[in-house]
Symmetry: C2
Subunit: 181 residues, 2 copies
DNA sequence: GTCTATAATCCGATAGAC
DNA sequence: GTCTATCGGATTATAGAC
């Protein structure tokens, strides 16, 4: 009942990249964790970068979808609220929670990786779509932090006992509060 | 008018670690940037880790100071406001802005570094000191994000033209807003 | 304090057998 | 698809001359 090796490589790589960082994780570690050799990994991915690209791809598609949706919408307060809720929902989808954590934690190491670079841009563009002419810097920061809270809110827990579900809901509440003037 | 080599190593290392990430930066690069050899660097620092430790040390001392101050204070709203302003002021001191950025960007790579004072942990402890019994999760997230906004607020700019001074003031304003219930 | 030289190890990546 | 074996180069770190 085993999955195909390619998927298992992605799975293990995602975990190790997230836990240790991209640069600190070698293909040898990934291979050993899987019980295969480095050469086997290279059969499925031509380079280490390609593993990252394959991980970022699904997320990139989601973000492009969200971006084109928001561009078809009028720039109103209800739209901003809806955008925030959609973004929060994406972040909580099981297949994306791991990828989101991986991207959050490897921004610096991968900042010159074209697909990762795009992720940062998307956030900035989303804030751009939430902008209005003559908006104050404070409002701009506030709207940026509204989206960012959906990422950072879960870091409150530390290694404490706060329930995940509870934290996610609280983060959305705080984020919504940041959208109001 | 040159500084001593030890300080220059710290200076260059801080810049490269921040720009490229800790793991992606080699001692060869640091040495070359300084116009000396690797061996010269090793005379001043026994290991690569030790450079990081020396960088984190000043910041750790500042944070310990802030923590012990806050623990001597009553848990009131004015105290929380004062804590936030003090934290913001530290982050803006010229000798700490670089170190703060370095720590922000290398959380994952250095998360198993024993001597690193983890910024996330400090934030969690500071938030703990801002806690009250029976506080809702939403309030807790809100207070965490208040402090975190002081870090993340400056990321709004992307590569855009927003003035640094303007951003810093706006971040403080948003952060103060997050302290109010 | 800084150098040259080098040890020992690990890396990403490839060739070619099976 | 996975293997063994290896290449070429980079890495951290050390020894010892000056």
């Amino acid at each position: 009942m085993r999955e195909d090796t390619r998927s298992r490589i992605q799975e293990v790589a995602l975990e190790l990249f997230t836990e240790q960082g991209y640069e600190a994780t070698s293909l040898r570690e990934i291979a050993e964790e899987l019980g295969v050799t480095k050469a086997a990994v290279y059969y499925h991915f031509k380079t280490k970068d390609e593993i990252v690209a394959s991980l970022a791809e699904l997320w990139a598609a989601e973000m492009d979808g969200l971006l084109s949706w928001v561009r078809s919408q009028p720039k109103t307060a209800p739209m901003r609220r809806e955008l925030l809720l959609r973004y929060a929902a994406k972040l909580r989808e099981p297949r994306y929670v791991g990828i989101a954590r991986f991207l959050e934690r490897n921004q610096t190491a991968l900042r010159h990786h074209p697909r990762i670079f795009r992720m940062r841009e998307v956030l900035v563009e989303l804030v751009g779509e939430m902008s209005e002419p003559g908006m104050s810097t404070t409002t701009r920061v506030s709207r940026f932090m509204a989206l960012y809270t959906l990422h950072a809110g879960k870091w409150v827990a530390g290694d404490g006992p706060l329930a995940e579900q509870d934290l996610a809901e609280a983060s959305i509440e705080v984020a919504l509060g940041l959208l109001e003037p």
